[in-house]
Amino acid sequence: METDVLVIGGGPAGMSSALSASQNGSKVILVERDKVLGGILNQCIHNGFGLHYFNEELTGPEFAHRFRKMVEKDKNITVLTDTLVTEIGDHKVSVMGKNGVFDIKCKALIIAMGCRERTAGNISLNGTRPMGILTAGTVQKMVNIDGKMVGKDIVILGSGDIGLIMARRLTLEGAKVHAVLEINSTSSGLKRNILQCLDDFNIPLYFNTTIFEVVGKDRVEGVYYGQVDEHFNHIENTRKFLKCDTVVLSVGLIPEMQMVKGVSINPKTNGAFVNEHYQTEKEWIFSCGNILHVHDLVDNVALEGKQVGLFASLYAQKKLNNGNLIKVSHSADFAYVLPYTLFEGEEEVEVKFRLKKKVVKSFIVAISQGNIIAKKYVLAGVPGEMMTFKFSKKGVKEEIVFEVRENGKI
């Protein structure tokens, strides 16, 4: 097989970028390992999706369905479901699945495989390894797709969004969620999720707290938990026992980059370094969605996919022009600012960033050659929320540095 643009991953980033590449005149093949398109959205049956993209509130499956219908109608997109990419070569990928084992050649590749969840092994969760230690995503699949209850007495480790959503979901299903334990002093989840999923159900959230040890031979019987110091060392005299039959892990997402060899990865995002056109170090490979950096809202994933689909399509048609590079850097107040390089030019550009600390009534400023070229006022910003900053780069030729100016002073 052969195509202009090949997209790996049929979640929101993949579907959106495939549609956009096709609408911009390219032949597209979209490869998805599952039976249906939609990715993780299919198991996210709660609402809150689509407010930005469709201007209405949808559930995950509804959001996915809208995109799926558009993709299926598009005659320039060939969808290969039940198909797994096993290797990425040079302008080609190898796949296996229901259509057999074969290679697909492409002019441009969009990697949109999303994330996997951090596991018990990744965080060296100590104690025994019985049934009942599950990642939030697995719990979500069991409850929402398979219709099965995972347990009756739940402890959630980590305050990631899926963990918070599942705290509510499991409570509604009659389980008792005893606590959410967060090793950090702030939550990585969205504020609205803490309000709607924990506070509304009187589920306590303990900060600077983690599980010391899991107990139970065949099934989880409880956890020893307690507080940690600033280096995450256990403070032994705070050790307490909590009886439970299930430990749900919501301790972070890791971009699924293991198959993409030979491109450098930003240790802060675990995604590829990309330029303004979302090209990785290998210029024929583009990246978007959660595999690039973890987003809070699927709407933003879809928007990013749309943007990247255009770039990949132009590249496949040899119409993508990269200008002179402008380096992007930032102060220690940021975890990252993406893209990592921009091009000289007239257009407006939008950068996406995450803060490292909480800021209030502050300005985010872009500085080049000592001059502030743009600023954005932030009433309140927290590490848990991705933010964007749109500005004109007209006339800018040198490195742009992003900084935070606190207390309303520039």
């Binding site: 296996m96 057999g100 084992v101 995503g137």
Partner: protein, 474 residues
């Protein structure tokens, strides 16, 4: 009248499985019983997966004799069972030339072939990343890697297709002797047998109590490990040991036969408890750092622990005072390496000899779709659409692979049993994406309820029931 077995083996670890296999191949009527839901669920699933060359045990001990004998038997057994045995060698490294020399001499005394003493320059050729203080090493060329669980499973399967009988989830309740026949009662049934082999590992004394035979003071030593992903940058070409101490062979760094890397074990006195601890994992990090400059703990995908059951300094392989009972006690390391030799020894102790029947049946190799040539893969997918359905994306395992495993001689119904046989769930996502898929396939193929599928043993059901919507709908 129910049949009388020539022997009933209690305990389906690698030793019990090797004995089971051998006695069936001799032509005896044999049953193997275990309380777990699969074989190899104790120490046999949680160890370093090494066939040691045999330089380590003290000369003159059973450990030395059986290790060297057993290691020699493995190539033939693995060929017969189509099991990968990767002879990658082992390096014992340190800064004490005398100790290395002593180890070499010990190896020669034990009858180990192909041992070499290497200087730093020679060591660096094999491992450029060795710590500065390491000046000398012993290279044992015959040291090999094996999958300890696939070995145990394959030994049992081969026994079963040649007439052996395996009974899982059996709880032994009593033992009586009528004339020369033992009557073993479990919660589910009765077994009549002329002989009994107690290979219950950590449960040896519990079984000995029921049998009314010798009990021994047992000591448990927990060994904790890290598993690294196949992408790990700690790509050691062979097994790396520090110089051994009284506590054991120390924290090693080794590839596994599957292409992952293991770092461990610790050796902590404990109850029989397979836990990992903060201190244990810290100890591993420190000790591994004494051998290599950089150890890639960032790519750790799992931590686990196994427990060695130790009884004094040597293995006990003996006839009990009760005629017809064989005691296998304290088969800790190098138990995996010794298992085939232990099986031969048991056969001799029982007076069966070791001569095997001819024309025994061979098991189907454990071969996943991805291991076939591409042309055959395409034919398999065309013929059976299950092979076109991806289940485990990390290890590239399909539904067809899993269904095929469920149809093999041991009737398993746990996610971990599937994991051990196919690698589904062994990869970097650790089953995050495939756990529920595997549960669904087991339930459907076995025609059982979803929530009755196990993670590992009885008591580890994967779900507690339907969600409310399902109940309300009924």
């Amino acid at each position: 009248m129910k049949k009388t077995y020539d022997a009933v083996i209690i305990g389906g670890g690698v030793v019990g499985a090797a004995v089971f296999n051998k006695l069936v191949r001799i032509g005896k009527k044999i049953a193997l019983i275990d309380s777990a839901s699969d074989v190899a669920t104790g120490a046999s699933k949680a160890n370093s997966g090494l066939i040691h060359a045999g330089y380590d045990p003290e000369p003159g001990t059973l450990k030395a004799k059986l290790n060297v004998e057993g290691a020699k038997l493995y190539p033939k057994i693995c060929k017969r069972l189509s099991l990968p045995l990767k002879v990658c060698g082992a390096l014992v490294v340190g800064d004490d030339k005398k100790k290395v020399q002593a180890l070499y001499t010990r190896g020669i005394q034990n009858g180990v072939k192909e041992l070499y003493i290497l200087n730093r320059k020679e060591l660096l050729k094999i491992l450029p990343d060795l710590q500065e203080h390491i000046t000398v090493g012993l290279y044992a060329k015959t040291s090999a890697l094996i999958s300890p669980y696939l070995l145990t499973v394959s030994l049992c399967e081969e026994a079963i297709i040649n007439g052996g009988e395996l009974f899982l989830e059996e709880d032994l309740e009593s033992c009586q002797k009528e004339k020369d026949i033992f009557i073993l009662k479990t919660k589910k049934g009765t077994f009549k047998t002329k002989n009994i082999i107690n290979s219950a590992g950590y449960g040896y004394n519990d079984v000995a109590k029921i049998l009314g035979t010798e009990e021994y003071p047992l000591e448990y030593r927990r060994g904790e490990y890290f598993v690294f992903s196949k992408d790990s940058t700690t790509k050691v070409p062979c097994t790396l040991f520090p110089l051994p101490t009284e506590k054991g062979k120390g924290v090693l760094i080794t590839p596994t036969v599957d292409g992952n890397y293991l770092v461990g074990p610790t050796s902590e006195k404990s109850d029989y408890e397979t836990i990992t601890t903060e201190n244990g994992l810290k100890e591993i990090k420190e000790k591994a750092g004494l051998i290599l400059n950089k150890v890639d703990f960032k790519n750790a995908i799992r931590v686990f622990s196994g427990v060695r059951t130790i009884c004094g300094k040597d293995f006990i392989v003996e006839k009990s005072k009760t005629n017809g009972i064989i005691n296998l006690v304290g088969i800790c390391s190098p138990g995996l390496s010794s298992a085939p030799a232990i099986a031969n020894m048991v056969a001799k102790l029982l007076g069966f000899g070791t001569k095997e029947l001819k024309d025994l049946k061979k098991i189907e190799p454990y071969k996943m779709l991805k291991e076939y040539p591409i042309k055959e893969q395409n034919e398999m997918i065309k013929k059976n659409k299950d092979y076109g359905e991806i289940v485990c994306k990390c290890e590239k395992i399909t539904k067809g692979d899993i269904v095929a495993v469920l149809k093999r001689p041991i009737k398993i119904h746990s996610v971990d049993a599937i994991k051990r046989r196919t690698d589904a769930g062994m990869g970097i996502c650790q089953g995050g994406f495939c756990f529920t898929k595997v549960v669904n396939i087991i339930a459907k193929t076995r025609k059982m309820k979803y929530e009755d599928v196990l993670k590992e043993n009885r008591g580890s059901k994967v779900a507690v029931g339907d969600i409310r919507e399902v109940n309300d709908g009924n």
